[in-house]
Amino acid sequence: MIEQLAFSWNYIIVVILMMMGLFIVIARTNLIKKLIGLTIFQTSVFMFYISLGKIAGGTAPILTVDPNTLYSNPLPHVLILTAIVVGVATTALGLALILRINEAFGSIEEDEILAAKVSQAMARPQRPISGGAE
């Protein structure tokens, strides 16, 4: 029982984090909180991969003299290194966009931004049809 729990412990945490992250992305209206949710969601997937690569009793995959050494699978780690880089880029771009949204709308709350959009659409001045830019 305990062994079973210890074996699947990582995966239980992964699922909990995954659900938390996804819920935050969907349910929150604050743009930064949404991004935090996305990061939690992605991190849970990183943990999932790392757990996949772990072999019970395995050591770090560095070649040793002893031919009977049991190594953990290094490939998932490498994949996740790539995924972390992608995740950082996504977060950075997301934060940059939030900065610009805050400058343009004066808010980072989704409902306020939507409201601003509507009022803007209402107040949109009718451009004169003749006389374009050129």
Binding site: A83, L97, F105, K117, R127, G132, E134
Partner: protein
């Protein structure tokens, strides 16, 4: 890469041998240079060179693979399963020719629009994101490694986000559209990675060909179903299939016109191609699972998408948003063809991948021309009588619009013809009638635009507007393409049939 150290080696042979890599690497390498170039027009030349080189590479690859030859390329000479493999077969080379051709034409037309819609200092960065988006999308089609696919997915998504966000110069809502695209796209890509994790855990490989041979050995198992489900769900987000298409209308309509042209023409096409790859190559050895999922989930979603997109387009008055909603519907037609999972259905899907790229690329490019001339967003109000004020651009718009409606002698008719034939083959008459009804409905929103543009008189005292040859020349190439492929569809149809054969040939 191979043979780079051999001084006497023939340069031409090296180029030919490394075509698959060059197709992706050239745009990606030109991107940072374009970002550093201070002059916008110089960056445009770089973008033109990058997309042009890819187009030539795609044409060469297509000529090599059109007879069903499967070309493999090992990046850095690392053989799979250790290294990443690029595969060019009839399916990927057709998709690549369509994508690179439209990307090149979109680049040709982009310059004037960028000058008007993007701040001068941002021109270089815009073209850098443009090249990155192109390179990422080409890589998506070429790669035969399930995880490498995720990396290309994210390269193209991040670059597309930047392209969309740059619309903020004319409309601040572009920022929100870009943010939503980034967020929803990242969740989709992460779903895909979860799915890859599951099937990697079961098979121990990421190479698509290896996966295809090992998955049937494992047979049936909940883990595989879950993995398949996660992968497909992730790609559905990227392909903008109902109900996860919600990012698309805002993204396409608030993006700068050239970015709308590029994304509408090639971005979702790459995702749809990946969907076909997952269903028919990776899980090709398990047709029961795939067909069950496609017939019970993707077919209803595709039909729902067709209707939602069409109805939304009917009630929309902003032209770009209208075209974006119509894209959702057209993506539904492509997905429907692929989801039929018969050779005829998949061929119909590929035919429409090509034709829809021509149609929507042309329509968005024409809207770009209107925006440049009018100096404002193109809505139904300010396009009144535009047919007389900008006859060259508006006529090309008309041709592409008729093609979208599926008028005989246009490319859109060929798409509908082969799709209807494929549905008839499966004898699902409910779907057939729904497709025909939605086709008729699409005439409603097209008529709405055409009536405003051609039937209503131009407002009094309105002068003729200046039409820019840098926009209408590539636009007319696309418009003539729409007629050409409507009259002589032989090349496209046979290429699409070869593509279907390459995907399901072994299984059927």
């Amino acid at each position: 890469m191979s043979g780079a150290d051999m001084g006497t080696v023939d340069l031409g042979a090296v180029l030919i041998n490394n075509l698959p890599a060059l197709l992706v690497v050239v745009p990606l390498l030109l991107a940072p240079i374009a970002a550093l170039v201070p002059v916008s027009s110089l960056a445009w030349v770089l973008a033109l060179a990058g997309t042009g080189a890819s187009f030539i590479a795609a044409l060469l690859l297509q000529s090599i693979t059109e007879n069903g030859i499967r070309l493999t390329y090992f990046l850095g000479n690392w053989e799979p399963p250790w290294g990443i493999e690029f595969v060019v077969d009839s399916a990927s080379s057709l998709t690549l020719v369509v994508m690179t051709a439209l990307a090149f034409l979109a680049t040709l037309a982009a310059r004037r629009c960028v000058d008007v819609e993007i701040a001068t200092k941002d021109g270089g960065k815009f073209y850098a994101a443009w090249l990155l988006a192109c390179g990422g999308l080409y890589g998506l089609v070429l790669t035969a490694d399930a995880f490498n696919l995720f990396v290309f997915l994210e390269i193209s998504a991040l670059a597309s986000t930047i392209l969309i966000g740059m619309g903020a110069g004319t409309d601040r809502r572009a920022l929100v559209a870009g943010y939503n695209y980034l967020l929803i796209g990242a969740v989709g890509a992460t779903f895909y990675v979860i799915g890859v994790g599951f099937i990697y855990a079961m098979t121990g490989t990421l190479n698509m060909a290896d996966l295809a041979s090992r998955l049937p050995e494992i047979g049936t198992g909940t883990v595989l179903y879950v993995g398949f489900g996660f992968m497909v769900a992730g790609i559905l987000v990227k392909a903008a299939i109902f109900p996860v298409h919600i990012w698309l209308p805002a993204a396409y309509s608030y993006a700068p016109s050239p970015a709308s042209t590029l994304l509408a023409a090639i971005a979702t096409k790459a995702a749809l191609y990946v969907l076909a790859r997952i269903a028919f190559t990776i899980f090709g050895g398990m047709p029961d699972v795939v067909e069950l999922a496609l017939a019970n989930i993707l077919v209803p979603l595709a039909v729902a998408g067709i209707f939602v997109g069409t109805v939304m387009a009917i009630y929309e008055s902003d032209i770009k948003k209208l075209l974006a909603h119509s894209s959702v519907a057209q993506i539904g037609y492509i997905a429907l063809g692929l989801a039929l999972a018969t050779p005829a259905g998949i061929a119909a899907g590929f035919i429409h991948i090509g034709n829809h790229a021509l149609i929507k690329g042309g329509l968005f490019m024409a809207v770009g021309g209107f925006v440049v001339a009018l100096g404002s967003r193109a809505s139904l109000d300010n396009l009144t009588g535009i047919g007389r004020r900008m006859p060259i651009t508006a006529t090309a718009f008309l041709i592409c619009g008729l093609s979208l409606a599926g008028l005989p002698l246009t490319a859109g008719f060929i798409s509908k013809l082969y799709l209807v034939r494929a549905i008839l083959e499966t004898e699902s008459y409910v779907i057939l009638s729904l497709v025909l009804i939605s086709s008729a409905l699409s005439v409603v929103y097209l008529w709405k635009i055409m009536e405003v543009m051609w039937m209503q008189p131009a407002p009094v005292r309105s002068a003729k507007l200046i039409e820019n040859p840098t926009i209408y020349v590539p636009l007319w190439i696309i418009a003539i393409g729409n007629i050409w492929f409507g009259i002589d569809a032989g090349w496209l149809v046979s290429a699409a049939k070869m593509a279907a054969l390459a995907l399901v040939g072994a299984g059927v």
